[in-house]
């Protein structure tokens, strides 16, 4: 079976939750078609819901300018990992559910006419976890940026490293960070956009290393997950802890930017640095 057959075959049957979503902030029932029209912002409270990969790409790039690369790269099972289900089974489920081979989509595009390289992570694919493929695709994108001297933009959404690939996942942190260090030395811009949620190994590698780190409002961003922290220190966490605004206040992100202003903000920076 070719990759395209597998890509389009076995689509899941329509699911009623495909038609509407509940706003996690104000509990308003939001129709999927309204969400799609409204950049996945809650019509009532303006909460930034998670945005599907292709909507995010459309948001940040000029019309029809995005050309996907490394699309056919797929994960393997280097550890022979089995918990309640074997890892290859979990992968197949994620591929079916997301119509994508992995938790990141990379490509070349234009932003305000300027060539850029863009990576967008997909939290729906195994929690956006970083295994070998995510690390390799992001690293290749960064290296392409170095080669062509195109700015690189990474939109992260991830629970962290992918446990099922063990130590290989951990080493993707080293790989991506080293590639960014090379971009830095060559003065090629790298902008990190942190969306809800960005934690663990992704937060502790390429997502925190932007020349500019931009967060979406109310996004959960941190090294350790709030539950792990609560269990460790055995106390309640303060209101707003690890939210985008908290990170801004503590100097960890440069700005918190509304989704409607995201492309314009990045565009302005790239123009100033050109």
């Amino acid at each position: 079976m070719g990759w395209l057959d597998r890509f389009t075959g076995g689509r899941k049957p329509p699911d009623p939750t495909d038609l509407w979503k509940k706003c996690p902030k104000c509990s308003e029932i939001l129709l999927q078609k309204d969400l799609e029209r409204n950049l996945f912002l809650c019509g009532k409270c303006d909460h930034h819901l998670r945005m599907p990969v292709w909507d995010r790409i459309a948001l940040l790039t000029d019309d029809n300018s995005f050309l996907e690369i490394d699309q056919e790269m797929e994960s393997v099972d280097p550890l022979g990992f089995v918990d309640s289900a074997p890892y290859p089974e979990r992968l197949q489920k994620a591929i079916q559910a997301t119509d994508s081979f992995e938790a990141v989509t990379c490509g070349e595009a234009r932003l305000d006419g300027r060539p850029i390289l863009l990576a967008v992570m997909n939290f729906e694919f195994m929690g956006g976890s970083m295994g070998s493929v995510v690390g390799e695709k992001v690293t290749r994108l960064l290296e392409r940026g170095l080669d062509k001297r195109f700015p690189v933009i990474c939109v992260s959404a991830s629970g962290g490293a992918r446990m099922q690939e063990g130590i290989f996942s951990l080493m993707q942190m080293a790989k991506t960070a080293a590639a960014i260090a090379r971009l830095n030395a060559a003065a090629v811009p790298y902008i990190s956009i942190l969306t809800d949620p960005t934690t663990g190994g992704v937060s502790a590698s390429f997502a925190s290393l932007g020349d500019v780190n931009i967060a979406e409002p109310d996004a959960l961003i941190g090294f350790a997950g709030p539950r792990v922290i609560e269990q460790t220190i055995r106390q309640k966490l303060p209101e707003g802890f690890q939210k985008a605004e908290f990170l801004l206040q503590h100097g960890m992100v440069d700005m918190v930017v509304h989704r409607r202003q995201l492309k314009a903000t990045v565009g302005r920076l790239l123009q100033l640095w050109a």
Binding site: Q172, R182, F223
Partner: protein
């Protein structure tokens, strides 16, 4: 007397008898040397047998043993009085869970960085069980930059359950501190040798783990998440840590097979804590051997090789291609 492991219990009785016989023999009344030798041989044989067939989970127990030599124990043996410990990240504070300084190992003046655990409860509270805050990672990086300026190689001892998950750590940017070290170590223009001496706990370990060579002691472990953490998430049951330890492939032999580390350093029978001096001697020999190989390299060559080393880590396939093996 060191505290023994559960799986060592069969030999504890024998060790007591050996001790009694030795005491008797010291009285000089009767010659017990043959009996003593017989028991000592039997103990050695049983130990070898037990340690040969340890489960991954038991490796984790050895790696975390409270009597296991920690960074400053090795520093004392390797550097003697030459070690000068330095403190503070210059931004927030000093983190006792991470030690850093300069010392002499053989003919070389080197920077030494290491996680630091405690051998008892008080010391562990002071050292935060070897779990650094951001200031620990920033202190480590500050000392590594000093090493680069003075053209001194860096020796790193890795031994942590992980970076500390707490409110202050998040406020001060635990993620950024770790990420920054990964990026900056990848371009530090002096040789870096890393030794996993106990627990290589995830990003908190890797944050000082970008070396030209990475070595693991025989009973140390290195993992993306602790076995307990993994069990709690994937099995929804922390008591399945034994299964998680097996699944994670966290032993030195696993990592060597995967091409993640360069070499396994053998430990004395029963673990490093049974003979810290012998373990330190093994480490010293490896330091001297590999510095001799790395010091002649130009900074460009050194950094190109370091980049390539980590660049090659990962396994994946491109449709209809075979799986790409790790290169090193």
């Amino acid at each position: 007397m060191t505290r023994e492991f559960d799986f060592e219990r069969p030999i504890v009785e024998l060790e007591k008898r050996l001790h009694d016989l030795q005491t008797l023999s010291e009285d000089g009344q009767i010659d017990l040397s043959r009996e003593i030798k017989a028991i000592a041989d039997k103990i050695a044989l049983m130990k070898a047998e037990i340690f040969k067939s340890l489960e991954p989970w038991q490796y984790a127990q050895v790696a975390r043993h409270i009597d296991r030599p920690f960074t400053l124990d090795y520093v004392k043996i390797l550097c003697g009085d030459s070690f000068v410990e330095l403190h503070g990240d210059r931004y927030f504070g000093d983190d006792p869970a991470m030690v850093a300084g300069f010392g002499r190992i053989g003919p070389h003046a080197v920077a030494i960085i290491g996680h630091q655990k405690g051998h008892d409860t008080d010391e562990n509270l002071f050292r935060n069980f070897g779990m650094p805050h951001p200031e620990g990672y920033r202190k480590a990086m500050r000392i590594m930059r000093l090493a680069e300026r003075f053209k001194k190689p860096v020796v790193v001892f890795i031994d942590t359950p992980g970076a500390f998950p707490g409110i202050g750590a998040e406020e001060r940017g635990q993620s950024e501190a770790i990420a920054r070290n990964l990026a900056d170590m990848s371009r530090l223009a002096v040789p870096i040798l890393c030794f996993v001496i106990g627990e290589g706990g995830s990003g908190g370990a890797l944050a000082v783990g970008i070396g030209d060579r990475v070595f693991m002691l025989e009973y140390s472990i290195y993992s993306v998440i602790s076995a307990e953490g993994c069990a709690a998430i994937l099995w929804k049951d922390a008591s399945r840590a034994k299964d998680a330890a097996r699944a994670l492939r966290l032993r030195a032999s696993d990592l060597l097979e995967f091409g993640i580390i360069d070499q396994i350093l053998p430990e004395p029978l029963g673990g490093a804590h049974r003979d810290p001096a012998a373990t330190a001697a093994t480490i010293k020999a490896v330091i001297l051997e590999h510095l001799a190989a790395l010091l002649p390299l130009s900074p460009e060559e050194l950094l190109a090789r370091r980049y390539a080393k980590f660049r090659a880590m990962g396994r994946y396939k491109v449709q209809d291609d075979a799986e790409t093996p790790a290169k090193n």
